[in-house]
Amino acid sequence: MDKYAKRQYIIGVIFALIAIIFIVRLFSLQVLDSSYKKYATRNVLRPVINYPARGLIYDRNGDLLVYNKAAYDLLVTPREVSAFDTTQLCSILKISKDELVQELKKARKYSRYKPSVIVKQLSTEMYAMLQEKLYKYPGFFVQTRTLREYAHPIAAHMLGYVGEVNQSQINKDPYYAQGDYIGITGIERAYEKELRGHKGVSYFLVDVHNRLKGAYNEGKNDSAAVLGNNLTTTIDAKLQAYCELLMQNKRGAVVAIEPSTGEILCYFSGPDYDANLLVGRERSKNYQMLLADTLKPLTNRAISAAYSPGSTFKTINALIALEEGTITPQTTFVCGGPGTKPISCTHHHESPIDLVGGIRESCNPYFWNTFRSIIGNYPKAEDGYKKWREYVESFGLGQRLGTEFYGQSPGNIPQASYYDRFYGRHHWNALTVRSLAIGQGEVIVTPLQMANMAAVIANRGYYIDPHLVKSISDPDNNIHQLDFKRSDCMVHADKFEQVIEGMQEVIDQTNTRYTAHVDGIEICGKTGTIQNTHGADHSAFIAFAPKNNPKIAIAAYVENGVWGARYAAPIASLMIEKYLNDSIGAPNRLATEKRMIEANLLNPNQKK
């Protein structure tokens, strides 16, 4: 053999060496390193979100208020796009070529492989037209979403609206992803977790061109979307619609509560808006328009307005004095009419006058004396005041009520320390803060609190947390009734009768009877006139009916309505009549209804 025969082994070793290097490399690649499995999954799996329909919203009688309609988003996967007829696509979508190019550029910047939304919420007609032509636009596809649709143009503030989540909401709750909808105000927000349901996800296999190649693992890893839960609200849609009719062209708020349950029957802030405006492609345009409106239709006055209670507050002062024992129903005070000191009366009436009469006549001197007796019941004015404040708060004033109201103002019942700061410690007394006697001054309330206060009087001493949602039903129709807390006020039930008597006389015996009395219904109410330095005074009214076993308590504020009896009282009484009798009967009532509907108080400078 030749002398180089040994070299066969060297060559064999070289061959084996390469084989060993490859095997070692493959061992590390395939067995030791698991990251490639992850990459492979990321390569081929495309998760497609299954969006659930949001829960439906019903009124208290099962009347559908909010449902869903299909909406179509046009998406694009930039990598798959090839040359197409831009002019035609633009004309279908009704957008300019520049906009389309801009959106495509944005989509490409986000990802060439993942889809981005090009046009949101196409109309059904647009979708139909596009669907026929879609094959001409490779890379484009349509995803179905649901949008809110409102059966009646009512209760916009109560229902609230939904919109896309923002980044901070995404950061807070990992459930949300870019482009998801979330309740932004109203019960859409308060019950977001119930309404939203649960998104599902389907995994599809995609090839290198991101084309769907079928379900992954036969769909075993997929999850179906879970529908949102349905809500039954406490609102009476008919009453709400009637309220909105009466309150048209007026600023103010009306809240009606069923006293025995705390269920809100009507929840209105005016002027309001049609909730359908805040849905669909025109949403942001409409939103800007509403935001710019000087009448502030987006402001929910029912829970955020800062009103004085006015004379309606006299009922509270009377009840506190009765409970404190500083007056009795028989206590009389002298009233000198408009010239009386330190607080004058609005008009002349019988004098001296007792409690029922004082309420009926809304006699300012009577309630000044009442208030003074409460404060004076304690050696120090501030202690008397603190006690008084405690009573007032027990009526649900000066605090946020319930849990469902976003943007709710707590109102304000000043602390004694506020007056200490203002006047100096021990340098103030009942006389200094006398405007509190007649519901003016620093006391601030919301219409919701006023309606709740009316419910306390109607209930003779307690209230259930006011609320908008009665029950929640899941997609399997399991109904969950919600419970709400009862709060007792510091005035006992037996102290209420004379005050209620006075409130009934307000409706039946004073001038208010012309606008608020209803034959066959015992309505108890109290008007208020709220001084307004910016224009005509505001008209306020609280009431409940029937007198015994009340079914409805109501508070109405009509801005620039001048007197309580002029707008707030007739509107509230019409609503009571409508709610209890289902219709307006007598001709004079129909005339009042017509007058209310036609009244336009939107010019803030008008007088009388």
């Binding site: 066969q8 490859f22 490639y36 499995k37 090839d207 061109h209």
Partner: protein, 475 residues
Amino acid sequence: MASRNNIWANLDWLTIGFYILLVFMGWINIYAAVFNEEHSSILDMSQRYGKQLIWIIAAFALAGVLILIDSKFYVSFAFPIYLATILMLVGVLLFGSEVKGAKSWFQIGGFAFQPAEVSKLATALALARFTSSYNFKIEKMQSIMVIGAILAIPVALIFLQNDTGSALVFAVFSLVLYREGLSGTILFLGVLVALVFILTLILQPLVTISLLTAAAIIIYYFINPKFLLALKAVAIAATIFMALWLSNTLLKLAIDTNKIILISAILASIIFTVYALRHRINQLLLIIGIYLMLVLMTFSVDYVFNNILELHQRARIEELLGIKSDPLGVGYNVNQSKIAIGSGGLAGKGFLNGTQTKFNFVPEQSTDFIFCTVGEEWGFIGTTSVILLFLGLLIRLIFLAERQRSVFSRVYGYSVACILFFHLTINIGMTIGLAPVIGIPLPFFSYGGSSLWSFTILLFIFLRLDASRMEKLSY
């Protein structure tokens, strides 16, 4: 005629077994790589797996024919075949059609033919023929020159066709020549040049040259183990460099540091050369020569890299060496290939269950990247089996080559083994990120009649030579 009947009995059926197994596995994996629900039959002739079956049957027929041809034919016609191939290589440059930037195909009707494929076989035959001639002596300059010419002519022509991958295959003939007595130093030098090329691309020139200097001194120390001398050499080299560097810095001559390195290396070499000449130490002269050549090379690598290599070749090398990373661009193939193979795990995802291959994430998966399908669907067990099968075949081929009585058959046998070795090293190496992406097929596995047939011919000529090894081959 007795010997004719014995041919079938004398065939090495073990090698044929390896061959059939590899071809069959290749077919199965092509089926998996291009599998398509609508054409699920492996016999569907409209699909690549159906077509591959035709190529396979034709290859078997071809193998049968080759076995029937007298082995003396190859000896007699080795040079004519080589010459015909050279003419075809010239012809393809003039009349060929261009596919993927390489002008290397003859297109006759629906049939495409690549002369470069045949040139490997022809060169192997010519090389075998020449080395087995009486006047061949590997030590003779003339012999070296002829061998150089036999290799250089097809390589040059293939380079001109812009088919770098096929041209690189010829490098593997150095291994064949090594078996026939080519100095190990030359082989070693080749490896060294490749190593320095890579080091220069990855490292700073200062580091590369320091490494080279250290290597030269260490090697000399092994030849002539005098520690003090080695220390002196280090001191001299360092002193020269420091002196130059300091004077440059202090005198603010603003000479490029790289130039200082080069000048120091040359100055040190001169000093050592004088020393070597005075003491007549020839090994030292050799070391200095190689050292200087490599130092100069480090300075020319950038030029070669940036001016001679093409953009895509540069990018593939940079990607391989990790100098640049572009998994969505140049590195896409390799990255996806590694994902496919890596996601196979120990036992693979199962036949036809490979998602990366099925959904075309790996380009060229039925041809150059067929190994991905093996890796993804059959896992580490599958890849190791394929590599061991190939290794088994190669070792068997070495064994067969060594048992030949004629130099012609032995040299040809080694050529077959080494050509297969080069293909599978580069092909598998590129799928797992150990070799640059060069478009050459995995023997017997990759889809395509042209490559399957040329490897079949290559192998079966040798099997025929082996079967008749007892006959005396006359020249």
